[in-house]
């Protein structure tokens, strides 16, 4: 499905798995709405690449937005926090 200028591809990372929601969402959607849609999609097994999970919890997840550039459409990424890099 083509993505309009006001829309975005929603990419989700959960439990080490990753996938795109088949349908685009509004690029200006509120973070809370994005997390809610992502949760519902994972719960229902609607994200190709991510196993359905009735216990999905995205409460502490981050919503990142990347404006369209080159041939890439707007993207919204839902992901866990990544505070680490150095210390082990």
């Amino acid at each position: 499905m083509p993505i309009e200028a006001h829309e975005a591809r929603l990419n989700i990372t959960w439990a080490g798995q990753n996938g795109d929601l088949p349908d685009p969402i509004s690029y200006d959607a509120a973070d809370g709405d994005v997390l809610q849609w992502a949760s519902e999609a994972i719960r229902g097994g609607d994200v190709p690449g991510i196993d359905a999970d009735p216990n999905v919890d995205l409460q502490d997840f981050v919503v990142d937005r990347f404006a369209a550039k080159d041939d890439q459409p707007n993207k919204i990424l839902v992901r866990p926090k990544t505070p680490f890099g150095g210390r082990a």
Binding site: T13, D64, R79, T82, G85, G86, A88
Partner: protein, 190 residues
């Protein structure tokens, strides 16, 4: 060769340094010392335990490949940022705390220096390699733990490889590519 400064030479940075050794003149900054547990997930050997991480890495890189790197065994703070980060063509943020990341972000945005950030989620669920213009800093979540037993070493290596690849591409062509890295082996170009 261009000058690349790597800030933080723990889990990510120690591997990035050895992967970028052929592509740039390297400077490494870290105030930490090598602990026994670090040898499970970082490019630091048992005979380096107790040594400064940057000096241990400097010695290792020189011993293994005859390559000289500059070592700065100091903590990066706002007061010394210009002194230790100045002169770099590219800065690689491989840190583990939001405060120090903010010092880097403030410096690179003020000075217009290209900066690539590397970041890992707790439990090895996600690695991120993101250019500063798209990078948001995540502070540590209470109770979250990173790799202390070496379990995530291959995943840390994958993320470090993607970071080195993005840096290499920038040094070669000026093109900025970023990645999200997943433990099952796939990387998403962003």
């Amino acid at each position: 060769m261009k000058k690349v400064t790597v800030v933080g030479v723990g889990a990510l940075g120690s591997h990035v340094v050895q992967l970028l050794r052929n592509d740039a003149t390297l400077k490494v900054i870290d105030h930490d010392r090598v602990e026994q547990k670090n040898t499970l997930s970082q490019f630091h050997a048992r005979n380096s335990v107790g040594k400064s991480k940057v000096q241990a890495l400097q010695q290792a890189v020189n011993f293994l490949w005859g390559i000289k790197i500059e070592a700065v065994p100091h903590k990066l703070v706002a007061d010394n940022a210009k002194q230790v980060l100045g002169g770099a063509d590219l800065i690689l943020d491989c840190l583990d705390n939001g405060d120090a990341r903010r010092v880097i972000q403030g410096f690179v945005r003020d000075q217009g220096v290209p900066c690539l950030h590397g970041a890992l989620a707790a439990d090895g669920q996600l690695g991120r390699v993101v250019w500063d213009e798209d990078f948001s800093i995540d502070d540590t979540t209470a109770g979250a733990a990173t790799c202390e037993d070496g379990e995530h070493l291959p995943f840390i290596g994958m993320t470090a490889s993607n970071m080195a690849r993005a840096a290499q591409e920038f040094l070669k062509s000026g093109k900025k590519i970023g990645f999200q890295v997943y433990p099952k082996g796939a990387s998403l170009k962003i």
